[in-house]
């Protein structure tokens, strides 16, 4: 319901801890921005600045053309789910959820209607009369979420709102939030550590590190075309495998001298970009390292023998820990096979889907494949 511009925003705590640095982002009306990044990278700080709870040390926060830096939180019409819930301990679940509506002088029936509805969505019907003290962790978190969704705010801020819920419930809640978003089109900024949430809910993902934006983009783009090794390693779980090495004669040669042939187009583009035979970092996602597969059309596979170090069943798939030369490696394979440590396997690397980065800066080498990406 609102367009937001964040211009050169910085935040310094206590004069010396810089939590956010030169943050620039435009959020369109109805956008669903997911903010991800390592623990302590400044996500919550960013949300709190948008909410007006933390002073913006530097920069401008504009909402629908109006400079908001100095507007008090209560006038911003923003609903927020706090990372640590911040429920009112002396109020029942019902009153916690009804508080904002009461403040806004909603009619009693309307309040009741909304709260009951939210409680139903959140599976909290049975707990409306309880105080937060007598709730489980996940129930508290749902109350925190409920407190936000009963409102029609201009902007939703959600700080890891589902982190303490079980997979199934999280899945449902995710769906409910998406549904809500589809219905109301309320601009939302959402912090999560859950890759699935990030990938499935976002219209755009913002990846931060140490208070600095690393990349902004649609989920698929971010996944497929990480701007740098950090993003590549951060998005996707298990993380992308990185190998340092260099390009030699159209082949990627690891530090141990293992040679992986490059697809021709890539090799040529690299040459053109001046990475002909300099040091380089290659990244490949675990799912693109497969077990001795029959190469399909358009695939450029390089296969190597490896020894299984650990094989970890995660349910649908198995994570295979192995090595490429001296460098560690994770592959993600179907769970059918029962592999043991010490087993020998032949792993194939889908070089077409591999990523290449500058060895020094870690920035992605633009090799032409990004054409048509909307950033």
């Amino acid at each position: 319901m609102v367009k937001i511009e964040l211009k050169n925003i910085s935040k310094t705590y206590d004069k010396d801890v810089t939590a956010v640095k030169d943050f620039n982002l435009e959020i369109e009306d109805g956008d669903f921005i997911v903010l991800v990044g390592p623990s302590g990278c400044g996500k919550s700080t960013m949300l709190r600045m948008i909410a007006g709870l933390e002073e913006i040390t530097d920069g401008e926060f504009v909402m629908d053309g109006r400079l908001m830096n100095d507007v008090p939180p209560k006038n911003r019409d923003i609903a927020m789910v706090f990372q640590n819930y911040a429920l009112y301990p002396h109020m029942t679940v019902y009153d916690n959820m009804a508080f904002a509506l009461k403040m806004r002088k909603f009619k009693k029936e309307e309040i009741k209607k909304r709260v009951t509805e939210a409680a139903k969505i959140l599976g909290l019907e049975d707990y409306l009369k309880r105080k937060p003290r007598a709730l489980s962790g996940g129930q508290r978190q749902r109350v925190a979420l409920g407190r936000a969704i009963v409102r029609d705010a201009k902007l939703f801020l959600m700080d890891e709102p589902l982190s303490n819920l079980d997979a199934k419930l999280r899945f449902q809640m995710r769906a409910e939030i998406s549904k809500l978003h589809n219905r109301l089109k309320t601009t939302t900024v959402y912090v999560t550590h859950d890759q699935t949430e990030a990938m499935t809910m976002a219209t755009r993902i913002v990846i931060m590190k140490d208070g600095v934006i690393q990349q902004v983009g649609a989920p698929k783009d971010v996944y497929d075309y990480p701007e740098n090794t950090f993003v590549g390693g951060f998005i996707g779980s298990p993380a992308m495998n990185f190998f340092s090495g260099e390009v030699q004669n159209g082949e990627f040669v690891t530090a141990d001298g293992i040679r992986l042939p490059l697809p021709e187009t890539k090799a040529r583009a690299m040459q053109a970009a001046g990475y002909g035979d300099g040091p380089i970092t290659m990244g490949i996602r675990p799912e693109h390292v497969t077990l001795e597969p029959p190469a399909a059309a358009g695939q450029s596979l390089a296969a190597m023998d490896s020894e299984v170090i650990v094989s970890e069943l995660t349910g649908a798939e198995t994570l295979l820990y192995s090595k490429l030369g001296s460098q560690e490696l994770i592959a993600r394979i179907d769970s059918g096979l029962d592999l043991r440590a010490g087993d020998n396997v032949r792993l194939a690397y889908d070089m077409e889907l591999a990523h290449f980065f500058d060895a020094g800066s870690g920035d992605r080498l633009k090799l032409g494949e990004e054409a048509g990406i909307t950033v």
Partner: protein, 292 residues
Amino acid sequence: MVKQAAGRQKVSHFETIQGRRQALNIINWVLLAAGSILMLSPLWWMLVTSVKTMQEVMTYPPTFWPESWNWSNYMKTWEAAPFDLYTVNTLTITILVVIGNVFVNSFIAYGFAKVPFKGRNVLFAIVLSTMMIPGFVTLIPQYVLFAKLQWLNTYYPLVIPAFFGSAFNIFLLRQFYMTIPDELIEAAKMEGASHFWIWWKIGLPLTKPALATVAIFSFNGAWNDFLGPLLYVNDESLYTLQLGLQVFKGQMSTQWNYLMAGSLLVLLPVIILFFFFQKYFIQGINLQSGGK
């Protein structure tokens, strides 16, 4: 149920949770009971004196158990002055003072604790400093002030100032507000509450134990106030209990039995109030339970 299956180590009773708690409780209880004697001894003395005849009061050496319990002293005490009227008067003042103290001080304290504004620390230091000048230095000028306001011989000087905050209570409540996590205030701000509403809906309920304490202190203070009514009230029909009790005290001799009976009667409501009011400051408010 067989709790002591074969092979299991036997746990000594005082190592168990209940056992340890019990042991602690017993020690605790004994300590408290012993201390109670010290606490109660003056009260016992008052009680004993109150039922003695004056003759026995003056007996040397003093007796710790009265020869006879003259409960009629209480009747006589009550009739020695219009204590019914004084009770009503005292209650009127006390209730108003308590209301003023509880709400207004809480309001002011919230401002000092949770609303940042310029000069807050300086103003707060001034609040504190008003406690530092001995009362009787300002007694005369203050009396003159109230005289100018035409408030003499009314309860205004006793009651109205309570509606403008007292340093002690402001300070006390401020300290309690400072222990409320800012997140709760922030959450309420996000939900559109103004500071006033936050104070009313969050601040007041969360500081209940402190408010109860202030209420008890204020009640106590107003109920036992002697100098205030003495100075500002002239009409004996406006007298309070504490002033009334003075009739038993003379320049040379004092009617101890009546004085003690009267003092005990006056004390009684405070004790009863305290006994039942306790739950408000014992009832825990777990400030952190709303968060992680």
